[in-house]
Amino acid sequence: MDFEEPVQGHLHWTDGEYSDGRKEVLKTIVVLSVVTVVEVGIAISYDTFAKDGGKYRWFISLLMAVFSVVKVIYIMGTFMHLKHEKKMFILSVLLPFLFLIWAIIAFAFEGASWNYMRSWLNAF
């Protein structure tokens, strides 16, 4: 049987690809470390200064979520090599993933609603 192109992915790298890949990965681990340190720094300092939870808790939580998304993009894109794959493959992986993330957020609202209904019932 004749093939137009190799069936497997790109399993052997040239010198140029290798040095580019090394640079990219090194950049990624620096970004991941810095983001983690910043996250923990913000979490600790906020808890130290606002003991009772504070007014801006929601903003800090949003910031943490954004930082986590940055980390996920770097891990999936560079470490798991996803950003170099074909577009349709990226979509087939990313779409189920994004729907599941939405499910988690949606059930957070669901839980808040249960909490509200419980407090409402407790009034009787």
Partner: protein, 237 residues
Amino acid sequence: MAEATTLHHDQETDQHLWEGGRSPFKLGYGKIMMWYFLISDTFTFASFLIAYAALRFTAGAAWPKPAEVFASVPVPAVAKILEKLGINPEHLPLVYVSFMTFLLIVSSYTMVRAVQEGYRMNKWGVVKFLFPTILCGIGFVACQYYEWSHLIHSGMTATTASATTKVLNFGQLFFVITGFHGLHVTGGVVLNIWLMVSAANGKFDKVGHYEMVEKLGLYWHFVDLVWVYVFLCFYLL
């Protein structure tokens, strides 16, 4: 010449798998299936995190603050050293778990380096980078052991809440989710040991490529990826 024989080999092993004669995504069959296995695994983790989200917001303001629950360094030897240095090991919120996160990030880096050495058909390069990956994995599970035993001694178990957690669901969710994640790390360590031994024995040189390193690398990065969410939910929010 070596390149040509390699490709020939791949076609021989893969061609029966694709009805169209070639992969639609220009990827190996095993790699695509590893991705889809990871998606199915994401469903399991997502169902846990969905339960977490719903139960957490049902508890409302009563939910414990992470900085209070995870305030200490639970390894006795390290705690003694810290006390000698004049630092109270009971008042170091999130430091210990940050170290665990760091272990996983470093292991992800060494794993991706092993994959890259595999692209260069560098056998001992692969072994050299798989070894620290395995060590970091074992270190992570060991850290988890100390953290769990510390929390269980403080009264937070699957059936009871401690004085700091108060909410029973917190402990239940914590042990189930971090336990399931720890199980994945343990499985990854076992697979990586097999991978390192196989690479050292020249198994992948015979096959002609190091795609197996890449496949198990995907699994290992997925473990890191899940930890990002576990870390976010339990320790940061």
